[in-house]
């Protein structure tokens, strides 16, 4: 069973605000789910070298500037909840 403190710590890492009632429910649900994951201990041991990703290729493209209509930029900025002119506003971090 994971503790309430652990649940709160994970929520903090995930930048997720949880109400007290949610912390309690999450503690119960996560404990059950993590317990189910113990099943993997029974799985045959695989060598780490089996993860050689040999079937994965690196895909590259030419680094070039492609002209796009400026209306796309406007559309993207328009989605921001807080903006000034054509920029997205963010709260000061310092």
């Amino acid at each position: 069973m994971i503790s309430k403190e652990e649940v709160k710590h994970i929520a903090k890492l995930a930048r997720l605000e949880l109400k007290d009632s949610e912390v309690e429910k999450m503690q119960k649900d996560l404990s059950e789910i993590l317990e189910y994951f113990d099943l993997l201990k029974k799985a045959p041991k695989m060598k780490e070298s089996s993860l050689n990703f040999k079937d994965i290729q690196t895909i590259t493209r030419i680094d070039e500037i492609k002209e796009k209509d400026s209306s796309m930029a406007d559309k993207l900025v328009a989605q921001a909840p807080d903006k000034k002119d054509s920029s997205i506003k963010v709260k000061s971090i310092l």
Binding site: R15, L16, Y36, L39, A80
Partner: protein
């Protein structure tokens, strides 16, 4: 003639022969949605203006003789796939008012052939769920029994096709999200090989697992749509240079593997009977049925529920209240993040973000995430070995038929167990289809046909044969 009951193929013939126009067809669907969707809740938004405009354009194309099988045929799009200028909510409060700034590649391809988009259909929030009940905008009801779920996460796309409120739909499948609702609603759903369809413009859930695919009334229709969707796209580096080649595979002499691990404790006996009867019909049709063993299957669900939430926890970090979507006002930046996510995400999404954050966090990474990656490799190798012995694999899609609304909502683990037969394919990147093969009372039951990578042609050909054999 009831226009909304036609298949793509039939509607195409009608358009070609000038029996009716695309505008007639589109209006018939829009009327049906207006009248009947309040009882089903398949649609989150109806894009009537766009649909009529596209139908008029399609009629012009048809008149000019320059058209294909999908020109003028109305469809629905899962609301996790972006259609430019239309809302795209992923059934989440956090994207309630989000308007897609561009088209997903699959939408671009549909538009190029003159498709008609009727609207955006319901899903579990961010495609996380097996029942459709995690939508922030209400559950989609099963057209065969409105006290039951349509299945998830592509609940709206499957229900819309089953209720004749779309000729076909696009869904997405991360752990069974096309196949499960197709099975519950009695329609055909194809989850393509990872990499065969571009994911560009699909709101990401688990990027190494997600795949877009068609939901349709017949196997032939699913094939028509898949042909248009598939192929390389420079906007998705994981998409593969792949050209669908039609194949005619004879069921006679075909080796069909039936893994014994799919018929163990937990499966509804009536589901088992219907699926076994379908397999028997393949045998009567001349196929060689081979009992096989896939020992990795036992571990697939646990593996999936580590990998998918891990990827989701990273993908969903972008919903921070700054760039788009909901933003909860607060004093400082951190509180904006905390409150926006706390208010904007539903219970299941929060649960998966928490699982994923936990399994990726320092101290637990090796025991969970890395272990799951190794098990994923085991699953891939297990299926690769099976396909050395057999041509295709037949299994059930789900251990149960459509569940009652509310049946599992308090028990996340019981809900996850409905995915036990579907998640392996996503982990191994394999294609699979769900086709209806029988009913328990009013409730449809699907058969899953699994093929090796990029063997959609083989799957579709045999599925078409099976469609006839189970009639």
């Amino acid at each position: 003639m009831d226009l909304t009951s036609l298949t793509i193929k039939q509607a195409h013939e009608g358009l070609k022969n000038k029996d009716f126009t695309s505008v007639d067809l589109t209006k018939a669907y829009l009327d049906k949605i207006k009248k009947e969707d309040k009882d089903i809740n398949a649609y989150l938004s109806v894009t009537e203006k766009l649909a009529i405009k596209q139908a008029e354009e399609a009629d012009r194309r048809i008149a000019s003789g320059n058209f294909t099988e999908l020109t003028g045929i109305p469809c629905s799009i899962k609301d996790a796939i972006m259609v430019e200028g239309e809302k795209c909510t992923s059934a989440s409060k956090i994207l309630e008012n989000y308007v897609a700034p561009y088209d997903a590649t699959v939408i671009k391809r549909l538009k190029e052939v003159g498709a008609v988009i009727l609207g955006k259909t319901n899903l579990d929030e961010f495609a996380m769920g097996g029942s459709g009940e995690n939508s922030a905008f209400g559950v989609t009801k099963n057209p065969h029994d409105k006290t039951r779920v349509a299945g998830g996460s592509s609940s709206g796309p499957a229900a819309a096709v089953a209720a004749d409120m779309a000729c076909y739909s696009l869904g997405s499948d991360t752990g069974g999200s096309i196949r499960l609702p197709s099975s519950f609603c009695g329609v055909v759903g194809l989850k393509p090989t990872y990499g065969s369809v571009s994911r560009y413009g699909l709101i990401a859930f688990g990027s190494s697992l997600d795949q877009i695919g068609p939901i349709a009334k017949t196997v032939e229709d699913a094939k028509i749509v898949f042909k248009v969707l598939s192929g390389k796209d420079e906007m998705d580096a994981t998409s593969v240079d792949y050209k669908f080649k039609d194949a005619k595979v004879d069921i006679k002499g075909l080796k069909i593997g039936v893994p014994k691990e799919y018929f163990v404790k937990g499966i509804d006996p009536e589901v088992e009977k219907i699926v076994r009867d379908a397999i028997k019909k393949a045998k009567d049709g001349g196929a060689e049925i081979v009992e096989i063993s896939l020992p990795s299957v036992e571990f697939a669900l646990a593996c999936y529920y580590i990998i998918a939430p891990s990827e989701a926890s990273a993908n969903l970090a972008r919903f921070d209240g700054i760039k788009y979507g909901l933003s909860e006002p607060a004093e400082n930046l951190l509180d904006v993040y905390l409150k926006t996510k706390g208010q904007g995400f539903g219970d299941e999404v929060k649960r998966r973000i928490m699982i994923g954050t936990y399994t990726l966090s320092s101290g637990y990474y090796d025991a969970y995430y890395k272990k799951a990656q190794l098990v994923r490799q085991f699953i891939k190798e297990d299926f690769a070995k099976a396909f050395e012995k057999v041509d295709l694999i037949f299994t059930p899609v789900s251990p149960v038929p459509a569940i009652k609304i509310g049946e599992n909502t308090d028990d996340p683990l019981a809900m996850y167990l409905m995915d036990i037969y579907t998640v392996s394919l996503n982990l191994a990147g394999l294609p699979g289809i769900s086709i209806p093969v029988g009913k328990i009372g009013e409730l449809p039951v699907g058969l899953q046909i699994i093929g090796n990578h990029f063997q959609e042609n083989k799957i579709l050909s045999v599925a078409e044969e099976m469609e006839k054999l189970v009639k």
